[in-house]
């Protein structure tokens, strides 16, 4: 299992479109991928789940991946978030 904490840095937070990008990326991996914020844990492959995090600018979320490609998955998702979803 791989865990990594990361900060949401795009101004808009995890809105519908960034959330969709994240879900798309997560769905490419076979591992089970969860996102956690405060006490709420959701499936990273679900748009409803990711929206439910209501993660705004500056909020910290944890990526938890488990499965055959857990390392690559964590890295790829962190990268999408760090690149601020290509927002600017």
């Amino acid at each position: 299992m791989v865990e990594r904490e990361i900060m949401i840095m795009n101004k808009l937070g995890l809105h519908a479109r960034p959330a969709a990008q994240l879900v798309q990326k997560a769905s490419k991996f076979r591992s089970e991928i969860k996102l956690k914020r405060h006490n709420l844990e959701v499936n990273a492959k679900s748009i409803m789940g990711v929206m439910m995090l209501a993660a705004e600018l500056g909020s910290k979320i944890t990526i938890i991946a488990e499965g055959p490609d857990e390392k690559e998955a964590t890295k790829a998702i962190a990268l999408v978030i760090q690149s601020k979803f290509g927002e600017e």
């Binding site: 808009l12 937070g13 809105h15 519908a16 748009i47 409803m48 929206m51 439910m52 209501a54 927002e87």
Partner: protein, 594 residues
Amino acid sequence: MAAGGEEIYRAVPASPGIIIGSTRSLSRDLENVSADRIVDSEVEKETFRKAISQVEKTLEKTAAKVFQRLGPEFARIFEAQVMIAGDEVWNKNVEKRIEKEKICAEYIYHDESKKVIRQLGNSNDAYLRERIQDIEAVTARLVSRMRGEKRVTLRDFKGATVLVARYLTPGDIVALSVRRNLGFATGIGGPTSHTALIAKSLSVPAVAGLGRMAEEISSGQRVIIDGYKGLFIVNPSASTIKKYRRLKKSESQFKRQLAQLKDKAAVTKDGFKVDILANIELPNEVPKVISAGASGIGLYRTEYLFLTRTEFPTFDEQYRAYSSILRRMGKKPVVIRTFDLGGDKFPGATGKNYQLNPFLGWRAIRVCLDRPDIFKIQLKALLKASRWGNLSIMIPMISSYEELVATKEIIDECKGELRSKRVKFNENIPLGVMLEVPSAVMIAEYLANEVDFFSIGTNDLIQYTMAVDRGNELLSKLYQSFHPSVLSLIKSAISAAHGHRLKVSVCGEMAADPVGAVLLAGLGIDELSVSFQSVGIIKKIIKSISYTGARQIAENALKMRSHGEIESYLISEFELHFPELKPVFQFIGRNSNG
């Protein structure tokens, strides 16, 4: 509501026009989804899978139809809903619960939705909270599919239909408005609500603010919507129906009359030109602007890009929106105003949801100068689009000289960045400022040295001069368009402009008021910019007056002491000189007695 005598309800006029038809009530009630036990979870799961995929398909189809008819800005409304319906992980989870709990799918789906809605409802972020509407919309669609109810298909209703609901989402309106002969009546909302704006831009008659009435009325009732006066008439009597049929007839006669002026220039009888341009909120209004015979777009309010979306528009999206307007307008002038966010408009978009005094707060150019990152994206998109037509950039809410200088520095920076990337744009793109804060009018002489044109925004100028919040109903009597101070500010703005050989326009409501238009023409205004619905009427007025006569009226008005005195003088002059224009009062929402 029992069938009986005529009942007249006063509501808020949301979009002009008249419709005589029967009601179709649209329930917003998701509370009655009960946890019914099911026998066979395999069958239930299969039914659910079919239903949710049908919902997804319908949404995709609607989005495509809307894209085709109204453009990408409107189709975007359905983007999030399609994604929600197609969320496989989410839907699998619903199936798991069906199997475990042996309860009907719609209850479980709704129950799961509520979890997300609760979380989003706690968010401080207005964008995120808006997604609640999308989730509710998808859930409502699924519930009615599962129950085998027919979706609101207006096809069942022949003839004119008035859709009644507590509220309508932009998605509802857009999806429904592809149908002709439609009217809207909502329980909540006011004249500047999103519902009203979209209804206006689609020319669908609407009233808002009906209260509980909107939820209690049943389908199939005969009603009349008077979108001019804001009346909702249930069970109209034969004589009322006759009266409104007559009114509808004279409305279309009047419109035909105005349509004949389409290609004529707006010139007074003694040869003075007052150009009539159009204000737009949404790019889909461009064809209507052209067919109304406006000589250009005098104000495109770009903040309405936020009406159908939840995220800041990217550079590409803005560039596409601006250049498509410019291309369609050809050589005709197009004035695009930079974001006027904050105040009463899309406060969430600025990231600040709450300001104690938003109109005197962080708004328009103040936001843009503090957020050059956002501002520069817009300016660069405008500059790049400038090569496609006759574009001018206009800055809202300037109140000091320094703000204008800072704005121009940012524009120069943007030009430099584009040049270094070898992007072509109009190097001499005209720049103008809105005069809507009294302080700006008083330093108009200095501002005039720095810009190419002025536009007087009378709505804000009146509210800031009178210290009256124009949205506050308690103060509506104090919101005085013809207060002597307002007239004197307009006069001095015009003379500052003309002293520097600049053109000056008015783009507020005063320009669309028949008597206001006469006064402004008399004060020497060069251009009037009004909604596409008013272009024909105002053009007709300009063609009916003489500049010398209007100037005399303006001079007399300038000597009067109060709004009341000036307004009744203007109306009496109007009725005296243009008795044939009296019907315009009915179609512009002004009572001829003031």
